[in-house]
C-alpha cells in the first residue's frame, strides 16, 4: 500500500481572515448579473426566435394550389425510428380534381409521444409532403390528444411553396401531351 501523503494546510493570511475580499468579489459577480441583459425569456409570453433548419413538430403540407401533397407511399412510416407514424393508404376517386394522383392517405397519424423529432420522415419523403416546422410545443391531457391525425397535421402544416408541381405537369402532359401518331 502506498504511504498516505499528508497535505499541509497553510494558515490563512490576514486579508483572508477578514473575508472582505471574498465578499467583495462575490458581490461583483452579483451586481454584474443584475445589470447584464437577460439570457432567459418570459415564456410563454415571449417566444424564442426559431433558427432555420429547426426540427419542430412534423406536419403535412399542401401545395400552393391546395392539393394535399402526401400520396401515402408510407416511406416515412417505414423509416420512422420510433414507429410514431401510422398511415392508412387510400385511393383518390378518378373523377376528383386530383384524380390523376390516384393515391392519398385515408388517415395519417403521428404519435407525438413517440416522435423523437429526428426529421427522417422529412428527409425520406419523395413528394416533399412532410415537414418538421417551427412548432416545438405539443401538450395534451390524454394520450389520444397527443396523436396528431390527418386533419390536425394539415392544420399544423399549412401551405408551403412548391418547386416542381410534378403532378400538375403530369396532368398538363395528359391534357395537351404527345399526339398519338
Amino acid at each position: 500500500m502506498a504511504t498516505p501523503v499528508i497535505v499541509e494546510r497553510k494558515p490563512l493570511t490576514f486579508a483572508e481572515r477578514t473575508y472582505v475580499p471574498q465578499i467583495l468579489s462575490g458581490l461583483k459577480t452579483t451586481w454584474k448579473h443584475l445589470v447584464k441583459p437577460k439570457d432567459t425569456l418570459e415564456y410563454p409570453e415571449q417566444r424564442p426566435a426559431i433558427p432555420p433548419g429547426y426540427r419542430g413538430v412534423p406536419t403535412l403540407v399542401k401545395d400552393p394550389h391546395g392539393r394535399e401533397k402526401c400520396v401515402s407511399c408510407q416511406l416515412c412510416e417505414f423509416v420512422c425510428p420510433p414507429k410514431a407514424i401510422r398511415i392508412t393508404p387510400g385511393e383518390i376517386a378518378p373523377d376528383a380534381p386530383t384524380g390523376h394522383v390516384e393515391k392519398a392517405p385515408k388517415e395519417f397519424e403521428i404519435d407525438m409521444l413517440r416522435c423523437i423529432y429526428c426529421g427522417m420522415c422529412q428527409e425520406v419523403c419523395p413528394e416533399e409532403a412532410i415537414f418538421l416546422q417551427n412548432q416545438f410545443s405539443m401538450t395534451g391531457y390524454t394520450r389520444e390528444e397527443m396523436v396528431n391525425n390527418k386533419a390536425r397535421l394539415y392544420e399544423l402544416g399549412g401551405t408551403l411553396p412548391d418547386q416542381h408541381f410534378k403532378w400538375d405537369k403530369k396532368k398538363d402532359a395528359e391534357v395537351h401531351g404527345n399526339d398519338r401518331h
Binding site: 407511399c73 393508404p89 393515391k103 419523395p126 404527345n178 398519338r180
Partner: protein
Amino acid sequence: MIAPPKPDLVTVNVDGKEIAVPKGTNAIEAARLVGVDVPYYCYHPKLSVVGNCRMCLIEMGMPAVDPATKAPIMDPATGKQKINWIPRPQIGCATNATPGLHIRTQSPQIKDCREGVMEFLLINHPLDCPICDQAGECKLQEQSTGYGRGYSRFIEQKNVKPKRTQLGPRVMLDDERCILCSRCIRFCKEIAKDDVLGFIDRGSYSTLTCYPGKALTNNYSLNTVDICPVGALTSTDFRFKMRVWFLKQTNSIDTESSVGANTVVWSREGVIYRITPRRNDEVNDTWMPDSGRELYKSVRAADRLGAVRVNGAASALDLAILAAVDLLKAAAGAVAVVGSGRSSVEEQFLTQRLAATLQASATLVGRVGEGDKLLISADRNPNVRGALVTGLIRELPATKLSALGAAIDAGKVRAVVSVGEDLAAAGLSAAQLAKVAIVYLGTHDNATAAAAKVVIPTLTVFEKSGTFVNQQFRLQKFLKCVPAVAGAHDDLVVLTRLIAALGAAAAPAELHALWAVLAAEVPALKAITFANLPETGLLLDATPYAGLPFVEGETLHYKPAAPAAAAAT
C-alpha cells in the same frame, strides 16, 4: 417408380467458371447456377422465350475449330483452345447451353448494353414509384439501381397513357408503367389457355389490351399481376392497400382443393393483405388460382366464431370441455365423429384418436366440384388423403352424411362431434340436428353451430401450423401466418384436452411433440418430423390407396392413377 433418364450434361463457361448444366439450359439459368445474376424482364422460367426486353444481353463465344479439318485451333498464348467471341451481344434467355459454350456477363460491352436498355425502358416510364404498388418488388427499380446509368438524359415529354384500365374483374392495368415484356400475354396463352391479351399500336405507343369483346376473367388472371415485372398490372383487391416492404411472408398451402398449391401469405401486424403463389415445380410451378387468393378474408369474416358457447350461453374452454364430456358420456356407444378433409393431418390424427376413445365411427364430408385441369382439382377438400394416411377413414367420403342421418333417425346416434364440418350443409336436416347433442369445433357460424350444445371456436388455416397431404400424396406443411382471433382456440389443444377429459392417454398438443407421436404411430409418417419436412413437400407412399376411386381428374403435374370415380361407376 421409373427413375427419370439422366439429362445430358454439358459444360459451359460463365465468366471464366466452368459448370456442368443439362443440355438446353439457357444462359440465364446457367449463370444463376454459378451465382452470376443476369438481369431480365421478359424471360420467365415457366413461359416460352420471346426475347423482347433485351435486358439479358451477354457475350457469347464458342471454341474455335478449323473450318476445313474441324481440328481445334489452339491459342499459343494460353495453350488452350481459342474462343471465337461473337462481336455482337446475344440474348441470354435464348442462348442454350451447348458443349463448350462460353459466356461473359460482366464485360464493359455488356455493362454498356444494360445501361442502354435500361435507358430506353425508362424513357416513357412514369415517375410513379411513390404511388406504385410494385415499389419494393419491382424489377425495373432493382435493375435500374443495379445496372442503370443512374441519371436521366431524357428532356422530352413522356408519353401519357391511360392509368386505370380495367382488364378484368381482378386486374387493373396502368399502361404507362408497362415495359411490353409480354409475360402476361404468354401466360394467358400458354398456361391459362385463355388467349385474351395482346399489344396494339406501335413503338412508344404500344399498349397492352384485351381482344375486342373479351376480358381477363379467367380464374388465373392474378398470376399476370405476379409475373408483371413492373407495376403495370395490379390486383384490384390489393391495390393501394399496403406497401410490400411492411409485409411478413409466411409459407402456406392453398386449401381450396386437393392440388395443394404452395402459397406465400403476406401479413402485417396480424392482418393478411394478400396471398401469392410459391414456386414448387412438382405441384403448382409458380401459379395459383385467383379463388385461392381470397381465402384470407375468412379470417376476419363477420360470421367468425369468437366465443365458446355451452347451450347457447357464453362459456369458457374448461367448462365447455366438461360439458362436452358429459354429453358424450351420456350418449356412450351412440356417438358419431365427423372429421374434416379440411383439417390438418395432425388434427385428423387426433380426431381418429377421439373416435377411438369414444368407440365411435368416424366419417368425413366429401366435397366434389369440377376440376379445371390446372390447379383446382375435383376434390375440394385439401386433405382427404391425410385422413387415409392417419387411419381416420378407410374409404373415400361421400358428399352427404345420409348414413349418419339414417342412424340418427333410427336412434342409433345420440351425440355427434363435428370437427369443423357444417352438418346441415352436409345433408342433415334441422330435425335430425335437433335430435342429437352436437359438439361443434369450428371456425365460422352456421346452422350446426346454432344447433350445437357445445361450440368451441377453432383456428383457420392461416392461424395455425400443420400439414396437408395433397392429391399426389405429397405431405406439405403450412405455417402460422397471423395470431388467432380473440376467443378462438387451437384445434390441437381442444382435441387433446377432449381426449384427455374422456379418460384416454393424452397426446401432446404442441405440434412438434405431436409429430413425434405421429411418426411413432403412423407407419406412413415414420421418421418424419415437422421441422425436417422440406418446403417443397415430401411424397408419401401411395400404393396402399391405389385401389381407391379418387375423384380427381388430370391437373398440372398430376395424372390420376386409378380411373376417376365417375368413369368407374
